[in-house]
C-alpha cells in the first residue's frame, strides 16, 4: 500500500507569553497514513489530537518535524490542494446559505463557473443536504448534524486525496452520527483516504482500518485496533425472581448478590461454569424464575485505560 | 434585528433633537448650552466629520430658542454666543452670519456682537457681499454712522454677485452726511450706466433731488454770508458756495425762484 500522509517527529509546545509556563503540546509524533484507508486518531481529551491535526493542515506551525502529503512538504501551497479539513465543532458564516459558502470555499481552490456549480450540487448530494428545503436557507438555521455534513462538504469540494476530520462524530445525536458515519464510509468507497480523530473508542472501532493512539502528547501505539485490545469475556449478570428469601444462601455459593429489589435479585457471576450451575440449581430445585441473563463485556474504555496504564508503568 | 434596533434608536435621537424639545424641556438646557458651547464644543475638529451637521442642528435649535424667548419676552443676550458657535463649526454658513447678526442686533440689542459676527463672516467668506452690506446697513440704521456705512457699502459693491441696487445706498449715505454734491455725481454715474428706462428715470429723479438740496444749501450759506441773494446760480459756483451745477441729461435747467425761495427746474 502506498503512503499518502507522513508525519515525522512533530513537536509543538505552547508557551504562555507572560509566565513562560509550558502548556500541553505534542512531542515527537510520527505516523503515516496509507492510501484508501480510514485512519483513526484516538486519544482522550487534551492528549494532543487537535494540535497534531492543526499542524497537519497548516493552521499551526510545528516547533520541529515535517509533514508530507504525497511527498509535498507542508509549506508548499500545493500541499493544501491535496487535503480537505473539517475542524472540531465547525462554525460557518451564519448568514450565508450552504451554496454561497461552498461557492466561496470552492473558489479558493480555483474552481469557478459551471464546474463549481456542478461540483457544489454533487457534494451536497453526497453529504445528503439536498433532500431538505435548504435552497437559500441560512447556515444559522442548520442543525448540528447538518453543519457537520456541510463541513464535510466544504472539505471535499476540491476532491482531495485525503480528508482530515477532527472529531466529526462528537456532539451529534444517534441519527446524526449514523449519517456522518455513512458519509465517511462512502468516501472510503470512492477511494479517498480519511484521517479522523476521536476520543470515542466505539466510533473508531466501527469504521477504522488502522488507528494511532495518542496520550499526553505522544503516540503510544499504531496498528489495527482489534489486535491492540485484548478482550476478556465470561462475566454475567443474572436476574432472578425468587419464591422465598431463604434461598439467598444457596445462590451466594455461585456468585455475589449485587442488588435486591423485593423478591427480585441481581446476581453477579464471574465465569461461565458458575453461571451454568446457578441456572441449573434454580431450575431443578424450583427456587424461582430466571428473568434475564446478561453477559458482561469488559468495557472498551477499560481496555483503553489499561493501555494507558501500561504506558505509564513503562515510563516509571 | 440588531440593525433595526439601531435604526429606531438613531431616528429617535434624531427626532428628539429637533421635534420633541418641548416634551423634554430641552430649551432650558439649551440656554445652559448656549453659555457653554463657545468655550469647549465649537472647535470643529472635536466633532470629526460631523461639525457641519452639528452646526445645522444648533441652527435649528437657535431658531427655536429665539422664537421661544421672543415670545416670553425673555433676554436674548446669549444669542450671539449661539451664532458664534454655529459659525465656528461651519465657518462658511452664510445665513448664520447675516441672519444671525440681524437677530443679535435687533432683538439681542448686542451691537458689538452683531459687528463681531459680521466681521468674522467677512474673514471667512471674503467673496460674499452680504457681510459688508449688513455691516454698512446696521451702521446706517443704528449708529447713524454714515461715513462708516458708506465705506462698508463701497466694499460690498466690489464683491461678485452684489445686486445693482446696493449701489444706491452709497449716494444716499452722502445725502445723509449732507454731501449732496458727491451723492449727485454718483447718481449721474448710475444714470449713465443704467441698463433700463425705469432705472434711468429713478436715477434722474434722484439727481434732481440731490442737486436741488445742494443748491438750496449753497444759497442759504450765500445769503447768510453776503446778506443778499445771488444774481444767478453760477455765482454760487464762482464764489465757491456750490461745487457745481449739473447738466441734467433730459436738458432741463435749474433756476432760483425768489418768491418761493427754492430751486426749481424748468424744461
Amino acid at each position: 500500500m502506498t503512503e499518502i500522509l507522513r508525519a515525522e517527529h512533530l513537536s509543538k509546545i505552547y508557551k504562555s507569553p507572560f509566565f513562560r509556563i509550558n502548556h500541553r503540546g505534542i512531542r515527537d509524533v510520527s505516523f503515516s497514513v496509507n492510501e484508501g484507508e480510514i485512519f483513526g486518531f484516538l486519544g482522550p481529551n487534551g492528549a494532543g489530537k487537535t494540535t497534531t491535526l492543526k499542524i497537519i493542515v497548516g493552521i499551526h506551525r510545528a516547533d520541529s518535524g515535517r509533514v508530507f502529503v504525497k511527498n509535498i512538504p507542508i509549506n508548499d501551497i500545493e500541499y493544501k490542494k491535496h487535503i480537505g479539513f473539517l475542524p472540531e465543532n465547525p462554525y460557518f458564516h451564519n448568514y450565508l446559505s450552504a451554496e454561497e459558502f461552498l461557492s466561496i470555499t470552492g473558489a479558493l481552490y480555483g474552481l469557478n463557473g459551471k464546474k463549481l456549480r456542478e461540483r457544489i450540487k454533487e457534494v451536497l448530494e453526497k453529504v445528503g443536504l439536498t433532500k431538505y428545503e435548504l435552497r437559500g436557507k441560512r447556515i444559522k438555521n442548520f442543525s448540528k448534524g447538518m453543519i457537520q455534513r456541510l463541513g464535510i462538504a466544504q472539505a471535499i469540494i476540491h476532491e482531495p486525496e485525503i480528508v482530515i476530520l477532527d472529531e466529526p462524530l462528537s456532539g451529534l445525536d444517534p441519527i446524526g452520527r449514523k449519517e456522518v458515519r455513512d458519509v465517511i464510509l462512502d468516501l472510503k468507497k470512492e477511494g479517498k483516504t480519511v484521517f479522523f480523530s476521536s476520543h470515542i473508542l466505539q466510533d473508531v472501532e466501527m469504521i477504522c482500518d488502522r488507528v494511532a493512539i495518542i496520550a499526553d502528547g505522544k503516540i503510544i501505539k499504531t496498528g489495527i485496533l482489534e489486535e491492540m485490545l485484548v478482550k476478556k469475556d465470561g462475566a454475567y449478570e443474572v436476574k432472578l425472581a425468587l419464591k422465598e428469601s431463604s434461598s439467598f444462601d444457596v445462590i451466594k455459593k455461585f456468585g455475589e448478590i449485587s442488588d435486591i429489589e423485593g423478591n427480585t435479585v441481581f446476581v453477579y457471576v464471574d465465569n461461565e461454569e458458575s453461571k451454568d450451575k446457578l441456572l441449573e440449581t434454580i431450575v431443578k430445585d424450583g427456587f424461582g424464575k430466571i428473568l434475564k441473563v446478561n453477559p458482561l463485556h469488559k468495557s472498551l474504555e477499560d481496555e483503553f485505560m489499561r493501555l494507558f496504564n501500561i504506558e505509564e508503568k513503562n515510563e516509571a | 434585528m440588531f440593525g433595526i434596533i439601531i435604526v429606531l434608536l438613531m431616528s429617535m435621537v434624531y427626532f428628539s433633537n429637533s421635534q420633541l424639545m418641548d416634551i423634554y424641556s430641552y430649551r432650558d438646557k439649551f440656554v445652559q448650552d448656549a453659555k457653554y458651547i463657545p468655550r469647549e464644543m465649537t472647535n470643529p475638529h472635536w466633532l470629526g466629520d460631523f461639525n457641519i451637521i452639528y452646526a445645522d442642528f444648533i441652527w435649528f435649535e437657535s431658531l427655536q430658542y429665539y422664537g421661544d424667548r421672543k415670545e416670553k419676552k425673555a433676554s436674548l443676550e446669549y444669542l450671539s454666543n449661539i451664532f458664534n458657535s454655529i459659525t465656528n463649526l461651519d465657518p462658511y454658513f452664510e445665513q448664520a452670519y447675516s441672519f444671525g447678526a440681524t437677530l443679535v442686533g435687533t432683538d439681542g440689542h448686542n451691537w458689538k456682537g452683531c459687528e463681531q459676527l459680521l466681521k468674522k463672516g467677512m474673514i471667512n467668506l471674503p467673496d460674499d457681499w452680504r457681510m459688508p452690506f449688513f455691516l454698512g446697513f446696521f451702521n446706517y440704521m443704528w449708529y447713524k454712522n454714515y461715513r462708516a456705512a458708506e465705506l462698508w457699502f463701497k466694499i460690498a459693491v466690489k464683491k461678485p454677485g452684489c445686486p445693482e441696487r446696493i449701489y444706491h445706498f452709497i449716494p444716499f449715505m452722502h445725502f445723509r452726511m449732507g454731501d449732496y454734491y458727491t451723492g449727485m455725481l454718483m447718481w449721474i454715474e448710475i444714470y449713465n450706466n443704467a441698463k433700463n428706462e425705469q432705472e434711468k428715470k429713478g436715477a434722474l429723479q434722484n439727481i434732481k433731488v440731490y442737486a436741488k438740496k445742494h443748491l438750496t444749501k449753497a444759497i442759504r450759506s450765500f445769503i447768510r454770508d453776503k446778506g443778499h441773494i445771488p444774481e444767478n446760480l453760477y455765482v454760487l459756483v464762482k464764489t465757491g458756495y456750490a461745487k457745481g451745477i449739473p447738466n441734467l441729461p433730459d436738458g432741463s435747467k435749474f433756476y432760483y425762484n425768489v418768491v418761493k425761495d427754492s430751486v426749481l427746474i424748468h424744461k
Binding site: 450565508l96 | 439601531i6 472647535n43 475638529h45 470629526g48 445645522d56
Partner: protein, 255 residues
C-alpha cells in the same frame, strides 16, 4: 489576489445578508426624508441640510459599520474558529487579511454610492443644482473610512476584545480629526521634550482632517489638484503601512 477577492465577496455577502447594509440604508433614508421637512428652516441656504446630510451620512454609517463589523472582522473568525476553514485552504494569511479589508471597503463603496444617488435625487426634487465637487467629498469620505478600517484591523490584530478595538477606533477617529490642533500645540509647547513628543504623536496619528472637505464643498470653496494628490497618496501610504503591520502580526498569530 484572486483569493482575496473571494474572501472580500464573503464579507460583502454576509453584510448584505445580515441586514447591516439594508438597515443602515433605511436609517439614512429616514434621516434624509426627515431633513426635507426641516429644509425650510435653512432660510437663504435652501437645501444646505440635504447636502450636508448626504455628505456626512456615509461617514456616520461607515463609522457604525466599522465599530460593529470592522472590529469583529478578524476577531469573529478566530473566536468562532471559522479561520480553521480558511487556514486549511490554499490561501495565504495576507490574502485573507486583504480580502477582509477589501470586503468592507466594498460595503462602504456601496453605501456611499447609494447615498450619492439618493441625495442627488433629493436635490433634483428640490431644484437645487448638483455640483461635481460632492462626488469628490464622498470619495474623500471613502478614503477616510478606509484609513480608519486599516487602523481598526491593525488594532484588532493584537487587541484582546472587539470592544477594546472599537474604543481604539473611536479614539483614533476623533484624535485624527484633531491632528491640526495637535500640530499647533507642538509649535506652541515650551518644553522641548513635550514639543518632540507631540510632534511624534502628530506624525503617527492619521490626519483625518484632510478628508473633511464637506464645508468647502458645500460653500463652493475650490480645492486644488495638489491637495487632492497629496490626500490620496497620504491615504494610500497610511493604509499600506497599517495593513503591512497588521499582516505581520497576524502571520505570527496562533489560533
Amino acid at each position: 489576489m484572486r483569493r482575496s477577492y473571494y474572501i472580500a465577496k464573503a464579507v460583502f455577502l454576509e453584510s448584505l445578508k445580515n441586514y447591516t447594509l439594508v438597515s443602515m440604508i433605511v436609517f439614512g433614508v429616514v434621516v434624509l426624508v426627515a431633513s426635507l421637512f426641516l429644509n425650510n428652516a435653512m432660510l437663504g441656504e435652501y437645501g444646505k441640510l440635504v447636502v450636508d446630510l448626504e455628505l456626512t451620512l456615509p461617514i456616520l454609517i461607515g463609522l457604525i459599520i466599522i465599530i460593529f463589523n470592522g472590529t469583529r472582522l478578524v476577531y469573529d473568525e478566530i473566536e468562532k474558529k471559522t479561520i480553521y476553514i480558511y487556514a486549511s485552504k490554499p490561501i495565504k494569511r495576507w490574502e485573507f487579511m486583504l480580502g477582509k479589508f477589501l470586503g468592507l471597503t466594498a460595503v462602504f463603496l456601496v453605501v456611499t454610492t447609494i447615498f450619492a444617488i439618493l441625495g442627488f435625487l433629493f436635490l433634483m426634487l428640490l431644484h437645487i443644482p448638483v455640483k461635481g465637487q460632492y462626488v469628490l467629498s464622498l470619495f474623500f469620505s471613502i478614503m477616510e473610512l478606509m484609513i480608519l478600517l486599516s487602523v481598526t484591523m491593525f488594532f484588532s490584530s493584537f487587541s484582546a476584545t472587539p470592544i477594546l478595538t472599537g474604543v481604539f477606533a473611536f479614539v483614533i477617529y476623533f484624535a485624527g480629526h484633531l491632528a491640526p490642533d495637535i500640530y499647533q500645540y507642538s509649535l506652541m509647547a515650551k518644553n522641548q521634550f513635550v514639543r518632540v513628543l507631540v510632534r511624534i504623536i502628530y506624525y503617527i496619528l492619521p490626519n483625518l482632517s484632510y478628508y473633511n472637505i464637506t464645508k468647502e464643498v458645500t460653500h463652493n470653496i475650490s480645492i486644488s489638484i495638489n491637495q487632492i494628490y497629496y490626500v490620496i497618496s497620504y491615504a494610500l501610504l497610511y493604509i499600506v503601512l497599517m495593513m503591512v503591520f497588521s499582516i505581520l502580526i497576524f502571520e505570527k498569530k496562533e489560533f
